[in-house]
């Protein structure tokens, strides 16, 4: 309001200044003075003072710079060569505030200038300052009217309707008269009220529209406050509607707190329990408890009576026992004793009796163990069990189980009743027996070992007699060595036995058979091995001859690696020679041949020298007879060894050995298999399978063949066309395949129809990428595949509710920024966020598996 008023007063002032009637200055001054009390604000004052200054001149001319700085003592020329001070700051650095401050300073400065000027004039002329006030700025005023204005000669403004009379103007004449103040106040109040202009009412629809707009905003605001709750609800993986069910009391404490004493006793108890004094006494030290523990006379009497009663009872009992003791009848005492014995109490009380009882029990136990009377070995029981009646009828089952129970009780060892010494002895014995039973073989083995060790160790050679003769000695030595060998072997066997015996029960025959089996297999294997050996033995020469040249050229390292292959090759060759119809061997032979062929190829392309040598050697090997080779076996092997030694030696001595490059080595190592070729073949096969070649057009026999014309024409054109189309299509298909340009890759484009049902045709709705969708299906959720602790959360439905529980509508809660995620129902975010869940799941599983493998 204050602002508005100010603005209005300003406008008023302006109006006055520009369009107001040209009133005499005195009037204007008085008006200005009158206005001052109305607007008591400081700013208003300022404005008023401005007005007062501005009011007085109509036309303001720009004051020349020199004039305004009349009393400036400095030569203005200095300013032209003005140098920036060192601490000068750029304009841009200054903020608006600073600018404003500067401006205000300037204004003040101007004001100061004016004041100084007037003061100077005053000092010079000695006239009051009021005389100079405004003089400096007063300019000649232009009057356009011929006559001074009056009510008969109004100004043009008034005639045009612009010159509005203000209330202030009207009020001016009556100033100072009685009632003026009151009137002025009323007018000012009226002016205040008149700020809100009363317009003509809007049309109803318009009004309503505005109203609705307002309502709309409010309703929206009302709705908006729910957003956070709705969002939370929607984003929650599970919404719970079964939580706020009150089931009455929840804790024991709650139930106890609700307890109200009803009966007298309860009330008494309550009064004691709730007694503050008592509680305090208890809390302090308990000394006061004694004071509080007053016993009433009645209680004392009651207690005494009770004691007396008990005493009298005891006395009577004594009397009774005395009387019984006096009875001399033996039968009576015998019967009584029996009763006592029967009762367990008696047994417990009398150690002798207990011993007797134990003996009896032991006898019964022995009997039971011998006869197995209660182990359902009887005819009846067997019958029942064999027919399965014990399952069918409860009675039978009960009877049988009872028997078993009796058996169990009878055959139970009575530790407590037995004497310590005897039981210990028997235990020891038993243990001993058990030990002997078990350990006999091991002991035997130990003995045997000892003996053999002895024999092995004392291999003293007699120094005299026949045995001291050199050849005898040599023979003896040999024998001894053999014996020692045998002994060592025996020892090893013993050890083996021992080891096996420790684990296995020697009583079991299975072990024996097992050993026997082992022996047999050994037997079976041994000849095989020998045969192989012999084969190798025989054919070493052959193979050696075959590959000799190559080996000579090759180096030791390669030779070592190649040797096993060579051996097998040799075996198969011989087998082939012997016409063994074994498909497996045949195939291996093929491989061998293939390998050798490629070998040759490789060699051929590698260098000519080897080729020559190979040529040299091959005829020799071919020409060689088998028998010959067999004869020369030892020689060959010897020679070979020599050669080898020679080769190594020579290579070492000559130092011509060069380390082959990595590529060369690899080439040599995989010389046998031509991978690229094989792969190409394979790829072609796959292509043929997936994109089959179109069948050649064939006429159905009998169709179109019975005329010469047809024969001449050949196949019908449509058939040919179709075939060509099919061919074209095939080539196109081959071209469009994913692996068409990838030479080393086969990408199968075969569609498995069975798998098709496990794929969706399109990406399902909520998912935006295939990976996320697949991740969501990745980890299983079943109880078999997940720990029980997380199965529940994995399978929890989106809405958890309980039948019979009324669900209330949402209640408003303020948004809590510090709110945590619901900890009560931890739940993996797999369901909510497929991507996230999948990833974490994957990570977990990986970690797990790693751990497993490590462990």
């Amino acid at each position: 309001m204050g602002e508005k008023r100010r603005s209005t007063s300003k406008t008023l002032g302006k109006n006055k200044r520009r369009k107001g009637p040209h009133l005499p200055n005195s009037i204007l001054k008085t008006i200005a003075n009158e206005k001052r009390p109305l607007n008591s604000d400081e700013e208003d004052d300022e404005i008023d003072s401005d007005d007062a200054i501005v009011d007085l001149y109509e036309y303001e001319e720009g004051v020349p710079e020199e004039e305004s700085r009349k009393n400036n003592r400095y030569d203005p020329v200095v300013n032209y060569n003005y140098e920036l001070p060192e601490d000068f700051e750029d304009e841009n650095v200054e903020s608006d505030d600073d600018d404003e401050g500067g401006n205000s300073d300037n204004e003040e400065g101007e004001g100061d200038d004016v004041v100084r000027h007037t003061r100077m004039l005053q000092a010079v002329t000695g006239m009051p300052s009021a005389a100079f006030d405004g003089e400096s700025k007063r300019k000649p005023v232009l009057f356009t009217e011929a006559y001074p204005e009056s009510e008969f000669n109004p100004t043009r403004d008034v005639l045009e309707g612009k010159g509005l009379l203000t209330i202030d103007e009207l009020m001016a004449p009556i100033e100072g008269k009685p009632g003026f103040n009151e009137l002025e106040k009323r007018i000012s109040r009226m002016q205040k009220d008149a700020q809100a202009v009363v317009h003509a009412p809007l049309p109803k629809p318009e009004r309503e529209r505005l109203e609705r707009k307002a309502v709309k905003g409010l309703v929206d605001k009302e709705f908006n406050k729910w957003v956070h709750m709705v969002k939370r609800n929607r984003e929650a993986p599970t919404v719970y509607f079964n939580q706020n069910v009150s089931l009455g009391y929840s804790t024991v404490g709650a139930i106890a707190s609700e307890f109200q004493p009803r009966t007298d006793f309860e009330k008494k108890m309550a009064s004691v329990l709730n007694d503050n004094e008592l509680g305090e006494a208890h809390d302090e030290d308990g000394a006061k408890l004694l004071e509080l523990n007053e016993v009433s006379v009645e209680d004392q009497i009651k207690y005494r009576d009770h004691i007396a009663k008990m005493r009298s009872l005891l006395f009577r009992h004594e009397l009774k026992s005395k009387r019984i003791k006096k009875i001399k009848s033996k039968t009576y005492h015998r019967l009584k004793g029996k009763d006592l014995k029967k009762s367990a109490m008696g047994a417990l009380m009398d150690p002798e009796m207990a011993k007797e009882e134990a003996m009896k029990q032991e006898a019964r136990r022995v009997e039971e163990r011998m006869t197995l009377k209660h182990k359902n070995t009887g005819k009846w029981a067997k019958r029942m069990i064999s027919r399965g009646l014990n399952v069918k009828y409860d009675g039978t089952r009960a009877a049988i189980s009872e028997q078993l129970q009796i058996n169990a009780t009878l055959s139970r060892k009575m530790n407590s009743t037995n004497d310590g010494s005897s039981s210990d002895e028997s235990d020891d014995e038993e243990e001993l027996n058990d030990g002997s039973d078990q350990d006999t073989p091991s002991k035997l083995i130990a003995k045997a070992r000892e003996k053999t060790l002895k024999t092995v160790e004392d291999d003293e050679v007699p120094n005299s007699g026949l045995l001291s003769l050199p050849f005898m000695a040599r023979a003896m030595k040999k024998k001894n060595e053999e014996a020692i060998e045998g002994g060592k072997r025996a020892l090893e066997e013993y050890e083996e036995w021992e080891n096996s015996g420790g684990e296995e029960n020697p009583k079991k025959t299975a072990v024996v058979s097992g050993r026997r089996v082992f022996g047999a297999t050994a037997k079976v294997e041994a000849p095989k091995e020998s045969r192989k050996d012999s084969d190798n033995f025989y054919d070493n020469s052959d193979s050696d001859n075959d590959t000799e040249g190559i080996e000579n050229n090759d180096l030791g390292a390669v030779r070592d690696t190649a040797s096993p292959a060579r051996n097998t090759g040799a075996i198969t060759e011989t087998e082939f020679d012997d016409d063994v119809e074994n498909p497996a061997s045949k195939t291996t032979f093929d491989v061998a041949l293939f390998a050798s062929g490629s070998w040759k190829k490789m060699k051929g392309c590698q260098n000519a020298e080897t080729k020559k040598k190979l040529k040299k050697h091959v005829p020799y090997s071919k020409g060689q007879d088998k028998k010959e080779s067999r004869d020369d076996e030892s020689e060959d092997s010897e020679s070979e060894a020599e050669e080898m030694v020679d080769g190594i030696l020579t290579s070492a001595s000559k130092e011509t050995y060069e380390i082959p490059s990595q590529a060369e080595l690899i080439q040599r190592a995989f010389a046998g298999d031509d991978v690229v070729d094989e792969f190409e073949k394979e790829k072609q096969e796959v292509l043929n399978q997936e994109v089959p070649e179109p069948e050649k057009p064939v006429l159905v026999p009998g169709w179109g063949q019975w005329t010469n014309i047809q024969k001449k024409r050949g196949l019908p054109s449509w058939m040919v066309r179709e075939h060509e189309d099919a061919k074209k299509k095939r080539t196109l298909d081959l071209k469009t395949r994913k692996d068409a340009r990838l030479r080393h890759v086969i990408i199968s484009e075969k569609v498995d129809k069975k798998v098709e049902k496990l794929h969706t045709t399109t990406l399902p709705f909520p998912y935006t990428s295939k990976e996320v969708f697949e991740h969501s299906m990745r980890m299983p959720i079943g109880p078999e595949f997940n720990p029980a602790t997380i199965v529940g959360s994995l399978n929890r439905p989106e809405v958890v509710k309980r039948a019979g529980v009324i669900i209330k509508p949402l209640k408003f809660e303020e948004a809590n920024p510090n709110e945590k995620v619901d900890d009560e129902h931890p739940r993996s975010n797999q369901k909510q966020n497929p991507k996230k869940g999948g990833k974490t799941g994957k990570g977990q599983s990986k970690g797990k598996s790693k751990q497993k493998t490590k462990a």
Binding site: E208, R209, E211, R212, K213, A214, V215, K216, L218, V219, D220, E222, F223, N224, W226, V227, V230, N233, R234, V239, F241, K757, L758, H759, T760, T761, P764, F773, S776, M777, P780, I781, G782, P783, E784, F785, N786, P787, V791, G792, L794, N795, R796, P797, E798, V799, K801, R802, A803, G804, V805, I806, I807, P809, L810, F812, S845, K848, S849, K852
Partner: protein
């Protein structure tokens, strides 16, 4: 130093009771079980089939009215009670568990069009074409209710006659006010014989009214000028109004999302709106082939039930375009009113064949007490089915519903019509200058404008 040892304490591995489960240890190493995905897929398939086998949604019918059931009201405070009114002015209170009438409220001369119960469940308000609003005191449910065979009649606690016939009534949540819809929207107090407030916007009569359960002072109405309007009682003025192409028969607010409401439209679709932005529907729920007569939200806010003139009841997810479930029987006629029970377990429908029908909200749900293990099994089946629901085999089984012949045929016709429309529009677009033909999205297509 900590020494790790293998230990197997006896106490941990023995059962206390024979009913206890044996402790079983699993090695969850996935490499040990390479077939788990296949196993789960198979289980999902089985679960889907089992769901179909056990889908027996119809629980029972409540027979007693002598005319078509026009409206129903559920007691927000008592699960077993449901009120229904028929076109002949008969109002009944039913005991759902025994499916019998507990008592009757005679008095209305013409059809009863609106029925509602106060939140505390003590006052029943009814109104109808006889220009009266009647307030009834609801009898307290006692144990004898179900056993009493003789039907008792209850006198109205108050009867207010007004100037015009009424179409609907709804009670404020947790308040004393109720609103009636007729020639205009009127707000009543229990204790006043005349409305305390009345709203009118346009001259057409209001046909349905529903209070917002979350915001008790906000209510929505639909009028016969095809408009949907939201009012705020505190402001004595409407807030928003949209005009649609067809009339809206009923409105339901989402109880869990107070800004959202769903309108059951005459064109067979339901439109979910955000109360703050009405010029576009948030979701269009299509499946009914005829006018949707009534709609009610599940108290969970996750789905709603609709009853239609095509003699079927459908259950829609709140954000899904198509229904989850369709319920129909041979004898069920035009459905005029539907209600979701307060525990979100049952659905009630009242139809022209004078019967109320009680359905399960989940067709294959097992009723009665479910042991924890059973519950877990059900949850697992559900989860597995949900996981593999996109795969063709499972999808086919889960989505399959048998439809009555008329609905099936009507669906076919609608599809054809839509296809031809689309084709025509495509052609038109193809043969006209680009940009001249603008197709509105489905969510805006049926909305004519929002009135300022």
């Amino acid at each position: 130093m900590k020494i790790k040892t293998l230990s197997r304490p006896v106490d941990e591995y023995t059962r206390e009771r024979s009913q206890d489960l044996q402790v079983v240890f699993h090695n969850f190493d996935p490499s040990l079980r390479p077939m788990e995905k296949a196993v789960e897929y198979k289980r999902a398939l089985t679960a889907a089939k089992l769901e179909k086998i056990f889908a027996r949604p119809f629980v029972g019918a409540m027979d007693g009215h002598r005319d078509g059931v026009s409206c129903m009201a559920k007691n927000p405070n008592y699960l077993k009670g449901i009120f229904s009114a028929s076109m002949d002015g008969d109002i009944r209170l039913w005991d759902i568990s025994s499916r019998r009438t507990v008592c009757q409220f005679p008095g209305h001369q013409g059809a009863v069009r609106g029925l509602t119960v106060s939140t505390d469940g003590n006052v029943l308000v009814s109104c109808g074409t006889d220009c009266t609003v009647r307030l009834w005191k609801v009898p307290r449910p006692t144990l004898e209710d179900s056993s009493v065979s003789s039907e008792n009649f209850i006198e109205p606690a108050a009867e207010y006659v007004w100037k015009n016939a009424f179409w609907a009534v709804d009670h404020q949540f947790e308040g004393e006010l109720f609103a009636t819809a007729g020639a205009q929207l009127e707000i009543w107090n229990h204790n006043r014989a005349s409305p305390v407030q009345s709203f009118q916007w346009g001259t057409d009569s209001v046909i349905s009214v529903r209070f917002n359960p979350g915001e008790p002072d906000i209510l929505a109405t639909s009028a016969s000028d095809r408009s949907i309007t939201i009012y705020d009682l505190r402001m004595s003025s409407a807030a928003r109004r949209i005009i649609m192409m067809t009339k809206t028969n009923s409105i339901a607010w989402n109880p869990m999302e107070p800004m959202n409401l769903t309108a059951a439209n005459e064109d067979g679709s339901c439109y979910s709106f955000d109360g703050r932005k009405m010029d576009e529907a948030k979701c269009v729920h299509k499946d009914h082939v005829s006018a949707v007569m009534d709609i009610d939200f599940s108290p969970t806010g996750r789905e709603f039930v609709t009853g239609s003139y095509d003699r079927s009841v459908r259950i829609f997810p709140y954000n899904g375009g198509h229904s989850r479930e369709i319920y129909h029987t041979k004898r069920m006629q035009r459905v005029f009113c539907v209600k979701y029970s307060c525990d979100a377990t049952y659905v009630l429908s009242g139809s022209d064949d004078t019967n109320l029908r009680l359905w399960k909200a989940k067709a294959s749900e097992q009723l009665g007490v479910i042991l924890p293990r059973e519950q877990k099994k059900h949850e697992y089946n559900e989860a597995v089915k949900n996981r593999y629901k996109h795969l063709p085999e499972v999808k086919r089984i889960v989505r399959h519903r048998h439809l009555p012949k008329p609905i099936y045929k009507a669906l076919g016709i609608i599809r054809t019509v839509n296809d031809s429309k689309r084709r025509k529009e495509d052609r038109r677009r193809a043969h006209s200058a680009p940009g001249t033909i603008v197709t509105k999205p489905l969510r805006q297509r049926r909305i004519i404008k929002e009135v300022e």
